[in-house]
């Protein structure tokens, strides 16, 4: 038989390939199902986890294929002589097909084009981000050094004795080293307050946080009536607590008299 020429290791590698592809396809399928069926959509965090898993699978497949590239290149698949080729022609064609399916081919082409057009797009973005981060961190360190650090002397100066340091400054400098414990406390406090600030800043948009409004609860009037929207509007406009008893025609008369008076 054809597979007799393959060593057990090679067979194992082929089987592992099959296993890995099976894992990948079933994960993609379950993600598709999740997206189609769950309402509302799955949590963003779970989507992120799934995406990470998929990318892991693909990564492992790529590594696996690269590792066994020699084997993959030389293995040729062909049907046994006793395969019922005529009856199962469709299946045979599918199994032996080497070209990509047309939609898949289109996708691959598209991806290659993107790659060719802007090969450096991703790295450029990363560079931009790195530049921005570097600029930001410089400023932040400067702010921290100028206004947030409580230490007046460097470690070396401390070891040599702060009394010997010639600062050239007239103002008095606190010679005592800041307490480490209090520093930690302060920094944790600061972090805490920063967190609070961030939470406050997010007040407008954070969807889970209750909106800050409401002047307080009011008492329910046991004698109050259920009012229609019209009743409420009437009350708001002219203070009337009930619909006018006069028929509209009378009001119209008043209206026309009013007009004449003008």
């Amino acid at each position: 038989m054809a597979y007799a020429s393959l060593t057990p290791e090679e067979l194992k590698a082929l089987d592992a390939t099959r296993q890995k592809f099976f894992q990948l396809t079933s994960s993609i399928q379950s993600l598709k199902n999740d997206l189609a069926r769950t309402h509302p959509l799955p949590q963003w965090s779970s989507l992120q986890v799934t995406t990470a898993m998929l990318s892991n699978y693909m990564d492992s497949i790529t590594r696996h294929l690269a590792e066994h590239s020699e084997l993959m290149n030389k293995v040729v698949v062909y049907p046994s002589t006793n395969y019922p080729g005529r009856e199962q022609e469709g299946l045979l064609g599918m199994l032996l097909r080497k070209k990509l399916e047309p939609p898949v081919e289109a996708l691959v082409e598209e991806a290659r084009e993107i790659e060719i057009k802007n090969p450096k797009a991703v790295s450029q973005e990363n560079e931009e981000f790195a530049d921005w981060a570097a600029g930001w961190i410089h400023q932040r360190v400067a702010t921290a050094a100028q206004s947030e650090m409580v230490e007046n002397f460097t470690q070396d100066e401390r070891i040599a004795g702060v009394e010997n340091v010639r600062t050239g400054l007239r103002r008095k400098i606190d010679l005592k080293p800041p307490k480490i414990a209090s520093e930690e406390e302060e920094s944790s406090e600061e972090e805490g307050s920063e967190d609070e600030e961030m939470e406050d800043a997010g007040l407008d948009t954070a969807p889970t946080r209750p909106v800050e409004f409401g002047m307080g609860t009011v008492r329910k009037n046991p004698n109050a009536l259920v009012r229609t929207e019209d009743d409420i509007l009437r009350f708001a406009t002219n203070g009337a607590t009930s619909a006018p008893a006069a028929p509209p025609s009378t009001l119209n008369t008043v209206w026309s008299v009013g007009k004449k008076a003008k």
Binding site: M215, R219, D230, I232, R234, A246, L251
Partner: protein, 264 residues
Amino acid sequence: MHELFLTASVPNDDLTRAVRILQGFCGMKPQAFLCRRLMWEGPRLRTGLKGIPGDVISKQTPAKQPLWKTLHEQLVRQSYVVALVYEIEKGAFGQSTEQQDERPNHSLPSTCDQSPGTLRWNELPDPVDARPVNTRAMLQIDNERGLCSTMKSIGYRFTGQMVQECYRFINGNVIFDLSRYLQLPDDSQASDYNSPLPAFETLTPFDEENKWILMISVRVVNGKDPDQAQQAVSELMTTRSEFEGCFNFHMVARLTMDTRTRMT
């Protein structure tokens, strides 16, 4: 000045959601305010109305005299219910009975008459025509002191008061007012505009179900100008269609918002 508007009601249970939606739509935090609204009714006369005497008008600052004159023209033609609106702080409310002994009563620092307030006159909305929104003439005189005395001097009668709790949002030219109206618990307090307000907790919503009214409105200087009106209408209609399925904005029967003094 004209106001073009549509209204919708919002159940109290949906209030948080409604505020969040509007907050997101308008991209702003709500402006929350409380207003004490005093209603003043004109004399029950069909003819022979005096309006606002000339000396009252001439007492006003020159900038506001045209407003008072316009108001006079309206009040001579027809007797109306006019609202005086005073924005109030929560501290202006009294304390509940348990707290009353411990802390002095923080009533209004002065009576309404001494506080700056807003006079608001609304015309009966225009008859329904081709426009898909309500339109009414309106006049607002802001930041005036001594409004109560002025109203009394022109023969207007204080008929009642309420507290309006309102969240206001603005998007483009459209003003979103989400309000509910609270009644004072005690009739004797309600009938005296100089009495201090009771504790906020003792107020009762006018509607037993505690519904809120969401009004979207656009103000135009001249509603008779077709261009201005058309722009206001289109902004309101856009807003209405954006909120379709969320808030059911609709027109109001004009007599619901009748501000003319009833001759009964």
